[in-house]
Symmetry: D3
Subunit: 136 residues, 6 copies
């Protein structure tokens, strides 16, 4: 019995989109107001999806309380109320687009998820825009 | 033309998580407050997804009115306002985790869905937790 | 400057509707399947609204972190994953309709909210049904 | 790095379900009140999903502003505040079921999306009914 | 104990905005694409709010099942899957703006609600636009 | 016929909570991580409510298209993708709590709304926290 379990989480942060190999004019041409040097921000709504065999003794793929605590420790405590560009190791060099944030979150969680389970990460940057990454 | 059609439905029920082969202490260690012997409950939001060829004469994969009635008869009438552990055949022996409830719903609906169509079931146990099962 | 601040919270619980002065037949006639003696349950979505003067030094009516902690201690810890009829003092005698639950929550919170502020409580019993009580 | 980016859009329109090769009686037997000759209508909530390699210079699969503008020009301007059966080329002959509308939208967008990217279209006809088409 | 109880309902319909005392040009100047003579449509999300004393024997302001049935009979059966301008008595002469639809619904429900209770009607025309009327 | 019409809008921005008359230690004691000097951010969901007489010739309280354009020009263009503390006149001196942002928005819109109409502003800072201000 293979089931996908999904858990919502939330953090908010400031960021700007910026490619350090381009000058400001090129950054503005590509990223528009998203490259504002004084930053803007979002409420990021995160959904973590884990797919695997249901353990017949618990009826769980993974314990949701454990998953929720894992997301808190690995993701929310790291990014919540932060400036992603200035205050995180992960986005010192990497442009914090929603695509890259989902990729970073997937890579932070992957080592903590049982090896036999699949992992997917969905991330709403606004209520109308979201991305998904599953490790490919 | 292969399309997936999805229909939301709703039921609310009481349950507790419990493995009858474990003593109370083990159940509490694993399931925490979810094993409360006097039960707790949820509004279960169910989404049934059917994937198949669109019938060129109707433009439908399946008639949504028919699908909605099927879900009412097979699922809502069976589980709505019930104590899943005590009052349903399906969870007399099976621990009513969200994973197992999705599995049971899938198996109840599968014989009623045209054989050439695929079926998937998503189930929100809370607005922040959900599971999906597609028959594997 | 008078502002209303509102905070969402969540708990889930089992309950049944029941008037102890009526026999089972009368309870069934009035409450239908909601009086099922083996209980059913809900995800209760709670919104607490506090109206008052904005403190010019903080820009807050009340600190949302404080309000959120208060709701956790006074309401979520008391009712979450509980059987309202059997396991709470508040609903030993009082029929746990949404109306009464909102009334009880209001009365639990009122002494903790600054006396000069107004308090209102909204409670979703399902995504389609909710109630509001403001102390009258 | 393969990511799916998704963008919400919205249009509202009138339609009726109707198979021109059937008489009115047959249409009513199959489509019920959805074949009302004087039309009914919906708020259509559209989600466009594009899957592809993330461009390392931008961190984008596609520019969301570009995708949003494309949906406006190709879909919203074409269908918003229209009578689908009477005022659109696409549904002159094709019965405007949600399945067919998703199929038409997919075909309108496909030539505009980079050839190496995958495209999927989800369409809510009501908050409880939706369909998805990905080109098969 | 005065409580407000609220119940969601839903119908979808076609309409156009039109003032019969103006020519087409004036209608277009005022109503834009909303006056399209071939109609457009919406999913109308209706919320009915009833405020009154809680009955101590039931714990109800009004029975939600009764309220839900009332809304079905008086409102959904009357307007669902209809062309408001052409097929309803209420909007033969009255321009079916959201404001007017809320007014009409309030007047249809008012005689059915206990005289000592207050009634308010909220109506979402789209997920981003809504109106409320309470009888003044 | 007095009706309230409500319109949703959206902007995202960076901010920090900060009282310039306090030292950093006091700011941290009061505002916690919300005073992070490098900022964090939110998706602000704004709802503007206008209450007034329905114009019998249009059936409108105000034209929603006009209201939507007004919000875009006065609010979204001013605050979207901005650092509220550093880049706006309004919050140079005023601590940008949700309470104060709602107050500022109300005061920006009030002169543009017909004098005989009432105005209220609701503002979601996160999906679980919101405030409302109506000019008192």
């Amino acid at each position: 019995m293979i089931v996908t379990v999904s858990r919502h989480a939330h953090f908010n942060a400031a960021h700007r989109l910026y490619n350090s190999q381009w000058d400001l004019e090129k950054n503005e041409a590509v990223f528009g107001k998203c490259t504002n040097p004084r930053y803007h921000g979002h409420n990021y709504e995160l959904i973590v999806h884990v797919t695997g065999e249901v353990d017949p003794s618990t009826g769980y793929v993974v314990d949701m309380k454990w998953l929720s605590d894992l997301i808190k420790i690995e993701i929310e405590d790291r990014f919540d109320h932060k400036n992603l560009n200035e205050e995180t190791e992960e986005f010192k060099e990497l442009n914090p687009t929603a695509e890259h944030i989902a990729y970073v979150i997937w890579n932070l969680l992957r080592p903590c998820i049982p090896i036999q389970h699949q992992l997917k990460v969905s991330l709403y940057e606004t209520p109308r825009n979201y991305v998904a990454y599953e490790g490919q």
